[in-house]
Amino acid sequence: MVGFPPAPDEITALIIAILTSHTFIRVIFFPGFIHLTLVVIFLTWYERKVLARIQLRIGPLYAGGPGGMLQPMADGVKLIFKEVMVPYKADKPLFLGIPLLLVFLAAVPFAVIPFGQNWVIADLDVGLVFVFAMTSLFPSMILIFAWASNSKYPFLGGLRSLFQQVAYEIPMWVSALSVVMLAGSLNLVDITKAQSKIWFIVPAFLSFIVFFISIMAELERLPFDLPEAEPELVAGWFTESSGAIFMLIFMGLYMKLYLMSSLVTVLFLGGWWGPGFLPQPLWFIMKTLVVATFIIIPRGVYPRVRVDMLIRTGWTRLLIIALANVFLTVLLLESGILATWGL
């Protein structure tokens, strides 16, 4: 116990105890703030490089580091020193506050993502529902930000973003349901542990396809990037953002990309499991980056779908496939085929 008023050496002991505690290390270094920031910085460079290679360009090159890897730093410095322009008659508190909330909402779910057997901040019993609850707050934030911009293009982009994300949330949840049934738990650590013998991509392949397409729509990635369709809406719902606000929104979006990729890794690709010569978190990050690559590549390959195609695919195809897969999973579990893998 620490007395009151505490002696100086007691205060030092307390600070050292806090700094070396498991929770502190996990929140600040890995898998918390510093790791997330570094990965987001890396992903912005990585996406530009991948897209450049697809289009037979070179991409960032001159900013320093191998392959211009320091380009995001240069971009960051540029954006921070730019003036933040708030549009005429815009709602200032919302316009400046929502981007911060977007980063926050994208970062908080990482508390329950297991990067390794011991590398998880909060071993929450309802981890998967927590992640879905947090991501379900994105569309309303985006619409409020678009409304606060007081401009036509952001507003139209915000409305599109809202109906797109709300429509694709449902197939996403339903397709994750079969994984929950296979693992018998909503805890992401337990879900990963259940995949020690077989990754869930094998017994729940249809779910994987549906989930992957749904997160592409959730992330507003091509071919589903209607909310930021450049030829129609300038840049969609963040048209009016500039300087540091733009940087915050981009950080939020890339963090969400990383979040969704890691969710695919946890649910379908066996999480931290891999051959023992590499540490578990490294396997996790490698798998996640592979998933992120497959989310990025379509941006350089496919054209954009129409609004009606998007909505029809979401409600009439993906949802039905996901529901059918739930029944298929029940059959698989009841037939006992999966018993050899301990499911």
């Binding site: 529902v129 879905f132 707050l137 409304w147 709300v166």
Partner: protein
């Protein structure tokens, strides 16, 4: 070395956030601020569920109420023309306040009455802390199958109703 927060303090803060946000939701001049306040109020209620050791319910509260109901309200606000919305606000301010006050008073009196009647027996409910989520399903399927089926029927009826309404529009 663990920071211990008195439970009463948590309750008071949660109650204050929920109530103030709920009042703001009704009093906001700008409709969108009302919707945001409603969302904050729902998050406060989710906090109560966490406080009551029901994290699953809390997460669903956020996902369904903040993630879907508030979105629905936002959609409605965006699609209603500005003048109509202002007219609605004006009408609400004219005389319905007294009715609201009456209803709130009635609710307070009835809650106080119920509390006075059955109050002492309430804290004796068995503690349910640290139950895993997976124990929820068996309880629903074995102890409350009839309410579950009725709920399912209600939801399908609502779905069919929505379909019929959508067809009528054509």
């Amino acid at each position: 070395m663990e920071l211990v927060v008195p439970p009463d303090l948590v309750f008071v803060i949660l109650a204050a956030v929920t109530l103030i946000a709920a009042i703001m939701a009704l009093q906001a001049k700008e409709l969108i601020y009302g919707a945001i306040s409603l969302g904050i109020s729902f998050i406060g209620i989710a906090g109560f569920f966490v406080f009551l050791d029901a994290p699953y319910l809390a997460m669903l509260q956020i996902a369904v109420y903040v993630g879907a109901i508030v979105v629905l309200i936002l959609f409605t606000i965006m699609l209603v023309r500005r003048e109509e919305a202002d007219e609605l606000v004006d009408r609400a301010e004219r005389g319905e306040g007294a009715v609201g006050l009456w209803l709130a008073g009635l609710l307070a009196v009835s809650i106080a009455g119920v509390a006075a009647l059955v109050g002492p027996s309430l804290p004796n409910t068995p503690p349910t802390a640290n139950l895993p989520v997976s124990s929820l399903g068996p309880v629903l399927a074995t102890e409350y199958p009839v309410p579950l089926v009725i709920l399912a029927l209600l939801i399908s009826a609502a779905l069919l109703g929505a379909l019929v309404l959508a067809k009528l529009e054509k």
